[in-house]
């Protein structure tokens, strides 16, 4: 029978069952199932990125749910009022910091799109690196 053991044991070692040491939970969680994987989008590269984006979307939702739990627990213990959160208005300094965070966050996410726009704006800066290497070799 084919089992899907791979890599070294990455979880905590547990006594009592020697076979369990073969379980690498981190790698095996993501094992591929049998059969060729279909790609539905015309460019598999796009589908690859879509899958990464959806996994990150999951983690954003998880972080959100954890924050929600935290807020509700803090409120139930009288340490925080969620109404205060909903009605919170930042002062000038806080507003500046927060907007800055959003701007940097957005820029990080859309880096590649920004750079593709820059490439169009500055065609002179798009020489292939092989050419540059040859040019530098002459400098």
């Amino acid at each position: 029978m084919k089992t899907e053991l791979s890599g070294s044991h990455a979880g905590g070692s547990i006594q009592g069952n020697p076979g369990v040491d073969a379980v690498n939970d981190i790698v095996m969680a993501g094992n591929k199932s049998k059969g060729g994987r279909p790609y539905f989008l015309e460019d598999p590269a796009v589908e690859r990125v879509l899958n990464i984006a959806m996994a990150i979307a999951t983690e954003v939702a998880v972080a959100h749910e954890r924050m929600d739990t935290l807020e509700r627990l803090l409120e139930s213990k009288g340490l925080l009022s969620r109404k205060d959160i909903e009605t919170y208005v930042p002062d000038e300094a806080a507003a500046e910091e927060r907007q800055g965070w959003h701007a940097r966050f957005t820029a990080r996410i859309l880096r590649i799109v920004q750079q593709e726009a820059e490439a169009l704006a500055h065609p002179e800066n798009n020489t292939p690196m092989r050419t540059i290497a040859d040019e530098i070799n002459e400098m």
């Binding site: 020697p18 076979g19 095996m28 969680a29 939702a61 998880v62 749910e65």
Partner: protein, 396 residues
């Protein structure tokens, strides 16, 4: 009508051998259940629109005729961007569901095995065989994109894949199968009791029982019966027996057996032979051997019943056949399409049920999580909806 939210994952019943979930692991499943709900209710209907408004007209214009079969529909739909995105997202949710579920159970694989062994101590409700030959139709594919499928053990006594299946089916079904994921079994038990109030089976066989999701409601509904669940997957049987015991259900035995060769059972042993969402995970030759075996072990006058998705008939539109076929190829249930091309009445004849004793009805899952919050309407999600075709009959 307001948007219908799926129930939160914590509404699943946590029995004694259920895997432990951290806060974030639960949250991951809450998101995935919602993602599935959104993809199936908001995005998927776009397929029908694309088909009607441009895919079918373009094909008709080019070929001077409409589609001959679902495969032609598939080739045409493949080029449509609405279908492409829906399919890519659907595949992605299935793969994420597997990875997320596996990461939960594999990190606690040994604890789960120990919990199950502890639960089964002193019981005689589990029979596994040494050197059991798993049927080739099971080893050839990882059904539902579950790596290792139902039968793979990562170490002796392992139940990881079963625990993953038990705790994660909620995500794929959007919580529509109930707190014990037993909506199918509940539906069939209720239907049989209501339709045949004078039927009092003593020996019931559930073939391809898996971890017993749909076996236990039958055992509960017929407490005087001895129920035997058979399956090829040792992890499923092990976990299923422990789960049944933990839930206090004592009239079920889980036996490792090949449905095509049930030597352990006598001729005409059973009053009722049941399969639930099993036939489409067999194979094109085996299904006939299985029906012959069912005929052998079923008593004369016994009930032979199967829950499946609707069969493909000439009345079903090519579009619907194509959509229903999606899971066959893209959710790794490859016998699905061929199985649903078969005529149930012909299959039943092989199992000794003459045409005049054949019956076929539609049933809907009985979902204890419904709580009247939902309006009872289900958006068609081809192959995922908790609405089934029941066919069967009484052996002559």
């Amino acid at each position: 009508m307001p948007y219908q939210l799926p129930p939160v994952w914590t509404e699943l019943k946590q029995h004694a051998v259920f895997p432990e979930f951290s806060h974030d692991e639960r949250a991951r499943y809450n998101f995935l259940a919602n993602l599935n709900r959104f993809v199936s209710t908001v995005i998927a209907p776009g397929n029908q629109l694309a088909y009607t408004s441009r895919v079918e007209p373009a094909f008709a214009k080019e070929h001077g005729r409409s589609f001959n079969d679902r495969f032609e529909v598939g080739e045409a739909m493949k080029k449509d961007p609405v279908y492409q995105m829906w399919a890519a997202l659907r595949r992605s949710t299935m793969e994420m569901r597997q990875q997320n579920g596996r990461s939960v159970v594999l990190r606690q694989a040994n604890q789960l095995a120990q919990k199950v062994a502890h639960e089964l101590e002193g019981t005689q409700i589990l029979q596994l065989k040494e050197n059991f030959q798993v049927p080739p139709y099971l080893t050839h594919v990882d059904n539902h994109l579950m790596p290792g499928s139902y039968h793979t053990e990562y170490f002796p006594g392992d139940v990881s894949n079963a625990a993953n299946y038990d705790s994660g089916l909620f995500v794929t079904s959007g919580g529509m199968l109930g707190s014990l994921t037993d909506g199918g079994g509940r539906a069939i038990a209720a239907w049989v009791k209501e339709t045949y109030p004078d039927f009092h089976p003593k020996q019931i066989l559930d073939i391809g029982c898996g971890l017993g999701h749909n076996t236990l409601p039958i055992a509960l509904a017929f407490p005087d019966a001895q129920v035997i669940g058979i399956d090829a997957g040792a992890p499923m049987l092990r976990y299923g027996a422990a789960r049944a015991h933990a839930l206090g259900i004592n009239n079920v035995t889980f036996i490792q057996a090949d449905a095509a060769r049930m030597q352990e059972f006598a001729n005409e042993q059973f009053d009722w032979v049941q399969t639930t969402m099993f036939l489409h995970e067999t194979g094109g030759k085996s299904i006939h051997t299985i029906f012959a075996e069912i005929n052998r072990v079923l008593k004369k006058g016994g009930l032979n019943l199967h829950i499946e998705q609707p069969q493909y008939t000439p009345e079903m539109s090519m579009y619907e056949q194509f959509m229903r076929d999606w899971d066959a190829y893209y959710n790794a249930e490859p016998y699905w399409g061929h199985m649903h091309d078969l005529q149930p009445a012909a299959l039943m004849e092989e199992a000794g049920v003459p045409k005049d004793k054949f019956m076929q009805v539609g049933v809907k899952a009985i979902n204890d999580l419904d709580k009247k919050k939902q309006d009872g309407k289900v958006t068609e999600d081809y192959g995922r909806s908790p609405i089934w075709n029941v066919f069967g009959g009484w052996k002559a």
